[in-house]
Symmetry: C2
Subunit: 220 residues, 2 copies
């Protein structure tokens, strides 16, 4: 599949020249982060919460404790939606209504199942950690059965999705370009600062390669 098919649910209505249904483009947005906003209905009301996720192919993995209200609600609903957005800049126009932001945003819709098998649960947790920071799982204390037992893992299969990307300059009304008003872009980025060792870490222990690599890739 190269493109998600358009339906009533995922078709972008406003600003559809910025819309994409391209699977690879949407995966690129998902893989540029690890924090998504998961929507659910509670007591008849829609709400969303930020959640770490891992993506593998067309699957999204979430986890939490066995008592996690949102995850239990998603399993019961058998479906979910998640939105991931990266803010790339302020768009400062000559008129108020042409102010905007540059961004990459993907909204996913899919089916949900609880992951039951321990091997699959661990694989999902590895996927989750790889999404946050690569190459760390093998360097930490292995997960034990007690931990696996008290962890709820949810798998979403992406059934359809859409994304919106704005990555251009200011777009003002034609007659406003002659005005003596400054317009432009203020680029926005998310960066990492130098890692801070935990209080229990001896001064002789070096910061591992995979952590320094994350820092180098993400520093300002």
């Amino acid at each position: 599949m190269k493109e998600y098919s358009k339906s009533k649910l995922n078709r972008v209505k406003r600003g559809n020249k910025r819309a994409t249904y391209d699977v690879e483009k949407i995966n690129t947005i998902l893989d540029a982060g690890f924090l998504g906003y998961v929507s659910y209905i509670y007591d008849g009301k829609a709400l969303c919460l930020p959640m770490g996720y891992g993506r593998k192919d067309n699957k999204i993995y979430l986890h939490g404790s066995n008592a996690n209200r949102m995850l239990l609600t998603l399993i019961e609903a058998k479906e979910m939606s998640m939105t991931v957005t990266h803010l790339d800049g302020l768009v400062l126009a000559r008129s108020g209504l042409h102010h905007s932001v540059n961004y990459r945003s993907a909204t996913l819709f899919g089916t949900v199942r609880k992951v039951e098998n321990d091997t699959d649960k661990e694989a999902a947790l590895v996927c989750f950690m790889e999404q946050m920071i690569e190459n760390r799982w093998d360097e930490i204390r292995p997960i034990n059965q007690k931990e696996l037992d008290r962890t709820l893992v949810v798998e979403m299969t992406i059934e359809t999705a859409s994304a919106k990307i704005r990555d251009v300059g200011v777009e003002d009304e034609p007659e406003d370009y002659d005005l003596d008003i400054w317009a432009g872009i203020v680029p926005i980025r998310q960066i990492a600062d130098y890692p801070i060792s935990d209080k229990g870490i001896s001064e002789n222990m070096k910061i591992p390669e995979h952590v320094l690599e994350y820092y180098v890739i993400n520093k300002s």
Copy 2:
């Protein structure tokens, strides 16, 4: 009001030692950004979209075109929820399940009305722009009646809310502190790069004070 009262809807269930219902603390989280995730129900499904907002006292303002599906749905539902989160760091623990992030996240619940009066609409748009970048509204081309007429402004009154803040170090199992595994925090921040003038801007036009000020406050 100093604290939002706790109800079934806003009471934080998981990790409630990190919860706060303090109005000022929640306002501080809201005022540290301008992009929220607004949840709504469409065709029986919950979804959320990123939206710019302005806050004044206990009111949140959103706007869009008169045909904006989400805003029209919110007006019909007469209620909405919005979540605002700032990511502050990766928490890299000695075991997988103690990995976390440092963050500040607020979730609001409230009633919704369409703003009808032109004066109130413009005031809401000023509030919206001030939230994104201060002191710009008076420097741009004034809004005209045609623009006001085709803009839908929605006002949410915050009825209840909660926030979760994690701003501490690694919290591992007591027996894991002796392991020869590096643990620590990688701080994460959102920064601004130097403003880029629009293609139509003459080289003689200086970047205005309010834009440079935004850059200086937010640069790495």
